[in-house]
Symmetry: C2
Subunit: 421 residues, 2 copies
């Protein structure tokens, strides 16, 4: 098995100013290709630190991927250290990257300065993968040398650029290393805790052939991503065998599966609405805009999403959504009756086909009737209105996420039911 190390270079990581998300994205890509990441290391913009740490990783791993330290200012010194480490005798200007730098500056209305031009200079012992998203090129150093037998990929630190370079470096790795055939399939599951899901599919999981491996990847907004991987064998045959297992798993889980690719609830709901030719609106109280934010995070959501009302104040519930004052008085703001009236209200006001609503207590405080973490969710549609109550035990931020995901899932199940009639 091929082993890899991921290195993050930059003082901003070490002082806790920036969370390193690049390493995780790179690790996920390597893992999907069957490469084992044995270590991630972060260290500072310091010649001796960079040299020591890179020497150490190059001795222990087949592939070393670094991010950061490639900026034009003098505190960024990764390029100089890599020139030294690779025994380069000087720098050469890379015409392709220089043209990209020129384009980027031009689009911002800026002239090319010496400091910009220097970004296209690379040590003469490296190969360049052009970085179309920024000024610093990706550098590839192949080290079958006296000291090391490894390849080093140096990526820029800006997350947008580092993540953008992943497909290119994965292609280079595939071209130079004998990777095990590995095939992944994902199912997105919502509505079961990890332990309950594990119990439910235990007989299926226990019967999996040895070369297949199942991973649980949970997230508060998307539920659990089940990833089935198969190692070795021929590609077509693998696909058929994995497909067979996926079909069985879908039978066990039923409509708890909302997608068979890496996906989100909001994108799934969007596809269902498009398929049904229907529109959506939302009335949010305790979720405060998060549901609307999630739905509109999907590019193209304006095709089916009309809008929402965040009714934080009782007066807005009554005046904008038309929730009767006596309903609030009789049942309380956090009640199924108010959730139903909110969903029906926003559906009417926006003239949408479907509407979802939330009313609850995200925290830090509960009220006289309900503990923190209580939420009522309403779904109104062509066949009437339905409400459901849920209770979570999290802090304010996490409760808002869980309430929102739960509402999107209840809506998904309702649209599915309506579509099946």
């Amino acid at each position: 098995m091929i082993h890899a190390s991921i290195c993050t270079i930059g003082n901003e990581i070490l002082i806790g100013q920036v969370v390193d998300t690049n390493s995780s994205r790179i690790a996920a890509a390597l893992e999907e290709a069957g490469i084992r990441v044995t270590r991630m290391v972060s260290f500072g913009d310091d010649r001796a630190e960079i040299l020591n740490n890179l020497r150490n990783e190059l001795t222990q791993s087949d592939i070393v991927i670094t991010t950061g330290g490639l900026g034009p200012t003098k505190d960024d010194m990764t390029k100089a250290v890599l020139a030294e480490l690779s025994g380069s005798t000087g720098y050469v200007e890379h015409a392709g990257q220089l043209a990209i730098i020129h384009d980027i500056l031009h689009s911002r209305g800026l002239d090319m300065l010496e400091i910009n031009r220097a970004q296209a200079l690379v040590p003469d012992r490296c190969e360049v993968i052009e970085n179309r998203l920024g000024t610093a090129p990706v550098m590839v150093f192949r080290f079958p040398t006296d000291s090391f037998n490894a390849t080093l990929y140096a990526l820029p630190g800006v997350p947008f650029e580092a993540v953008g370079a992943i497909p290119d470096i994965m292609q280079d790795i595939r071209a130079h290393y004998p990777l095990t055939n590995i095939l992944h399939r994902s199912l997105m599951v919502y509505g079961l805790a990890e332990s309950a899901l594990s119990e439910l599919i235990a007989p299926w999981e226990d019967a999996l052939p040895d070369e297949m491996h199942l991973a649980y990847l949970p997230h508060p907004l998307t539920g659990i991503r089940l990833r089935l991987s198969i190692y070795g064998g021929m590609h077509e045959e693998q696909e058929a065998r994995v497909e067979e297992q996926i079909v069985r798993l879908k039978e066990i889980l039923g409509n708890r599966v909302y997608s068979d690719q890496d996906d989100t609830l909001e994108a799934t709901v969007g596809r269902l609405l498009k398929k049904a030719g229907m529109t959506l609106s939302a009335a949010e109280s305790c979720t405060g805009g998060e549901i609307s934010h999630l739905i509109t995070s999907v590019p193209g959501s304006s095709a089916y999403y009309l809008g929402s009302v965040t009714s934080y104040a009782v007066s807005v519930k009554e005046k904008v959504l038309g929730v009767p004052a006596e309903t609030i008085e009789k049942f309380g703001v956090v009640s199924g009756e108010v959730a139903a009236a909110m969903a029906e209200g926003v559906r009417k006001v926006t003239d949408s086909d479907y509407a979802i609503s939330t009313t609850g207590l995200a925290g830090p405080d509960g009220d006289a009737l309900n503990p923190v973490g209580t939420v009522w969710i309403g779904v109104a549609g062509p066949n009437g209105v339905k409400t459901e109550k849920r209770h979570f035990r999290n802090d304010r931020k996490r409760n808002i996420q869980r309430f929102s995901a739960e509402a999107l899932n209840i809506l998904r199940l309702q649209i599915l039911e309506d579509l099946s009639h």
Copy 2:
């Protein structure tokens, strides 16, 4: 200067399933105390890996902080390796942590199993800091031994618990290490790019005494946090000297400073509204609910926030917000005129004192009249309505954040202006 290493133990980090946020939080706390973090390392749940990596860090640093690998299942082996490394001769049960485990299980309606009880067992060569937020105690190993001269703090990996343990371990570090006196003050600044800010305050920064240090900590939602630190000297004297510099800096920056502590725009706007005894509503188009989500993320926001309308569809702009069809036709949806009508509309509908609005193009597509990244922001208040246009060059997600922060800042400046009259 005291040197520290932060280690993250767990396969879930190495396969890119989980982003390590613990290290960043711990690093920030160490840095604020004047301790230099030289390395962060992540490695897997494997005896040899843990031993090798911890030996290496204990040789190079004064303080080693680990998170993860303390769970009750057999794949978590940090505790066993620490027992070995510390020369412990066995395990002892910690009565205090056992009582906490009992309480946690009881509150969830569960009985104590052998696997739960084992969580209170710790190597006999460690000291325990109780973990009230979870079942695994924090373990402190003091290593003035033949091999190492360092202290190791082993924290649980659950972020909630790891972050919760930071104050306790910082207290222990202060009690055992001679830390330099260090004092930090923060100013939150919005409305200037880092380079422009740097240029503006250059004369002030250049004149800073040697023992003072300025750091720029930028974030798309909060602008730039300027942190001024002073090393050495007596506490009271330090405070007076830093205060003097802060006063000067505030004079230079004026109302671009929105807070003199670590803070957010939405919390600042909330305080201003409370002070003015005024209420707020929002009308969002391209920001899709993010502004409302930010405002309602602040606990207690229901005291001044009435609600919002997300008017994604033109019909909702017209029907719910009362934007005249001819305004949209004449000026286009993305226009100052529509932003003004949206703000006035939601102000009227919710009967709020202030209202903010956004209409723009977050991406991926622009329209015939405006490029991606264009936004018009409206602010309506007791003294009329104002609009401003902005243009950013980011992806959809980042544009939504920048639009939202910009709107909150324009609102903040308007309230300040109104309060000063």
